[in-house]
Symmetry: C2
DNA sequence: CCTCATGCTTAGCCCAACTAACTTAGTTTT
DNA sequence: AAAACTAAGTTAGTTGGGCTAAGCATGAGG
């Protein structure tokens, strides 16, 4: 039973499902969906093109078009054009979008922080140690 | 910077997003969706009632009704009745459903196992240690 | 009985993903 | 230089998965 990858895989699968449910519970009732917040986050460091956004979010272009349409209607992002290539549309945060992003991120981090603060210091250290391992999953 | 819950929260948030994308990539193109496999898994140890399934999957009853309808149409589950209360519908796996569940679980665990086998023994131990901590999140 | 609560389904809505088809703008080929 | 191809986005249409509201039985209590 010691260091059995299959047994570990089963336990990981169980926890992943738990986390998915947790995330859904957290994002219920928010003004924007978690996908939309994710897109706003991608725009934090400057304008991006549609293809870049779609690829980063593992989504097809039409899906991203619809998301950006909604965010544009809500006044949170603005479309622009690339002077060197008239085919590409750029997307950037509006002032309101940036503000919304900061607010959401603050409260979300605050929630998570509260959960983590309820753990022992040792548990937090255990979690912190595992993060780089989680990051390696799916990179193969 | 040592044991800073806020800083840890930010890193955890990043990894959670990574895991969500990973899961979506894994379940793309499967004959059933991950939700439907999840429901099949709940039926592994015998019949359940609709309310129990809905609660376990953190979903409203109508949503579960639709899911069970689809699984029933596909011949993977069968509805029954509770002899002691004519209001409740029970749901159980058909032989085909059980077979499908076993196949899917095998291949999914196999995939995860392959990923985990690519890690070092120490990394697996780190991950295993963190699982109980992850399980505690959201229980507050 | 009549009323109320419970378990489930139906109907109708919205969001998020997909593919297919189209438009427009660059790039290559001849 | 014109034709053919490729690339970037958008639009249209479908599917899945979630929700609430409303309806229909059935069970439980006055």
């Amino acid at each position: 039973m010691r260091d059995d990858p299959t047994h570990l895989a089963e336990q990981v699968a169980v926890e992943l499902r738990h986390l998915v449910y947790l995330l859904r519970r957290y994002s219920a009732g928010q003004p924007l969906t978690s996908q939309q917040y994710g897109v706003l986050g991608s725009l934090e460091h400057g304008p991006r093109r549609m293809t870049a956004l779609a690829e980063e979010h593992a989504v097809q272009l039409p899906t991203m078009t619809v998301q950006i349409n909604r965010l544009e209607d809500a006044g949170l992002v603005a479309r622009g054009t690339d002077p060197s290539d008239a085919r590409v549309r750029t997307v950037e945060l509006t002032a309101e979008g940036r503000e919304r992003l900061q607010n959401v991120r603050r409260t979300r981090i605050a929630n998570l922080t509260r959960e983590l603060a309820a753990l022992t210091e040792e548990e937090r250290a255990t979690l912190a140690a595992a993060l780089p391992v989680l990051a390696k999953l799916g990179r193969s």
